[in-house]
């Protein structure tokens, strides 16, 4: 404990000394770490971050619903369901392969151009793009979880008289989610960062607010402010994910969970 603390401090000091003794440090410090600039733009970046948090909130709900639907469709058996199963598979393949930024451009600029919808703020389309992309990832994770639920669990549920839908909702999905919680949390953490990409559509989020600050002052410090804020909001989820993964590994080592 003491040793690790000391070695951490020593390493930190060494890195710090190395960095501040580089020839360009003074210029870099000026351009990236200017406290006055940071203070000046903190309010607008914080306001932008509030938009990111709201987008994250709605996107997470949207993903939970849509991904569950996709996963269920992909696990339906029987020839009757072939068309929907095929569509769901094609959907997940397509969106897992497409970079999010392209989906953002297509949804954010393409759909409004159709003229089908009333004018909506860009963050709405950004949220839609996030839902479309992340649902594909999350659906795959959930599907893997559903397939890992022992078949006898379905038999036991059906023989109690539960309907197919009740079996899914009360027995299969809860067990599936437990099995894949670390993977789901990882997707959540990466979505927390990717909400910053809605700035490409012109939504005034934290990244866009920082960009405005940078254009105003020719100083990159606002980006550092935005970056730090993103780290701060995602930190609890990151720690939680680590904890869950470690716990899952411990359990597997003990083995023999039913």
């Amino acid at each position: 404990m003491v040793i690790s603390l000391v070695s951490t401090v020593v390493l930190g000091v060494l890195v710090w000394l190395t960095v501040i003794n580089t020839p360009g440090w003074a210029a870099v410090q000026q351009a990236f770490f200017d406290p006055a600039v940071a203070w000046k733009f903190l309010p607008s970046v914080l306001l932008g971050l509030w938009l990111n948090i709201r987008i994250l909130f709605f996107a997470a709900i949207g993903v939970a619903v849509f991904a569950t639907l996709l996963a269920i469709i992909r696990t339906l058996r029987g020839a009757v369901f072939f068309p929907v199963r095929f569509l769901a598979t094609a959907y997940t393949d397509l969106f897992r392969g497409t970079p999010l930024i392209i989906v953002l451009y297509l949804v954010g600029f393409g759909i409004p151009a159709l003229g089908l919808f009333p004018r909506l703020p860009p963050e709405v389309w950004g949220t839609v793009a996030l839902i479309l992309t992340y649902s594909a990832y999350v659906a795959e994770v959930l599907r893997a979880g559903m397939e890992a639920v022992h078949p006898s669990q379905r038999l036991a549920a059906r023989s109690l008289g539960l309907t197919h839908a009740q079996t899914l909702r009360l027995i299969v999905l809860p067990q599936a989610v437990r099995k894949v919680t670390p993977a789901l949390m990882n997707d959540f953490v990466s979505m927390q960062k990717d909400v910053g990409l809605v700035s490409v559509l012109g939504a005034i989020d934290a990244v866009r607010a920082a960009q405005i600050g940078e254009a105003d002052t020719y100083n990159f410090t606002p980006y550092i402010v935005a970056g730090l804020l993103f780290v701060i909001i995602s930190w609890p989820a990151i720690r939680f994910t680590d904890w869950l993964t470690a716990r899952a590994q411990r359990r597997e080592q003990i083995g023999g969970t039913v």
Binding site: A156, S159, G161
Partner: protein
């Protein structure tokens, strides 16, 4: 519930000419079986003789290819029948993996009452607690199944099956996966149910239990009932050579 109860009450279960094959291989080749109310029927036979398949066709987990099955006179093999409502009239316990690992003992046993039969939670739990008390597991009510021994898990599974007051209880080798020390406590519970008047069709390899607790024993061989009778006659003087061979191999093993 019509007609003259004393003379025309149908048997709880009536199986008539049931055939079932998988990929062209016949597994059940014409099964006939009646089980009267409060009767305990034990089905025995070698591995692969079709015992589990027979139980699954009764529970509609498998559909019959031919023949009919009646539950208290209702033809449950009719394609128009509501599968879920038939299943809710039959209790089933399998060899293992019966309990839901993400639900506590009390939630496991009350699930069907609450979700299928629409019983209020309080009422379902009160009844469940009485049963758990009876099997000595009241203290484990809030525990999750992985905290229970195999024998305790099977007893909870049996309580879960009977809590929805099934007309028929199907038990498929419920002690086969258990440590020999735990077999007794599970079979004692089955005996209690028999005393309480349950109607049971079960498969087992525990011949001494079959002999002492069954009202009727059927021997399955290659998808047909080769021999059947009251336990004393069946075990005392089996007639078919296949039955004799099966029983002697059990004693040897």
């Amino acid at each position: 519930m019509s007609g003259d109860e004393t003379t025309t009450t149908p048997p709880v279960l009536r199986v008539r000419g049931v055939h079932k094959s998988f990929d062209g291989t016949a597994v059940l080749s014409g099964i006939d079986l009646d089980i009267a109310s409060h009767q305990v029927v034990v089905a025995i036979g070698a591995s692969g003789s079709g015992k589990s398949t027979l139980l699954k066709t009764i529970n509609l987990l498998e559909r019959v290819d031919d023949g009919q099955i009646f539950l208290k006179g209702d033809d449950i093999t009719d394609p128009r029948v509501n599968v879920d409502s038939v299943r809710s009239r039959i209790g089933v316990v399998f060899q293992q993996f019966n309990l839901f690992p993400h639900l506590s003992v009390i939630d496991n046993v009350t699930l069907a009452s609450r979700k299928v039969h629409g019983v209020a939670r309080d009422e379902a739990e009160a009844e469940a607690e009485r049963w758990l008390d009876r099997i000595g597991l009241r203290a484990k009510l809030k525990d999750y199944p992985d905290r229970l021994s195999g024998g305790q898990q099977q007893r909870v599974a049996i309580v879960r099956a009977i809590l929805s007051k099934p007309e028929l209880l199907l038990l498929d080798e419920i002690t086969s996966a258990l440590d020999p020390l735990l077999v007794g406590e599970v079979l004692d519970l089955v005996r209690d149910l028999k005393t309480a008047g349950a109607t049971i069709l079960m498969t087992t390899h525990e011949m001494s239990f079959a002999r002492s607790a069954a009202d009727h024993v059927v021997f399955l061989h290659q998808g047909v009932i080769l021999e059947q009778g009251a336990p004393d006659a069946f075990f005392g003087a089996p007639t078919a050579p296949e039955t004799r061979e099966y029983l002697s191999r059990l004693h040897a093993g």
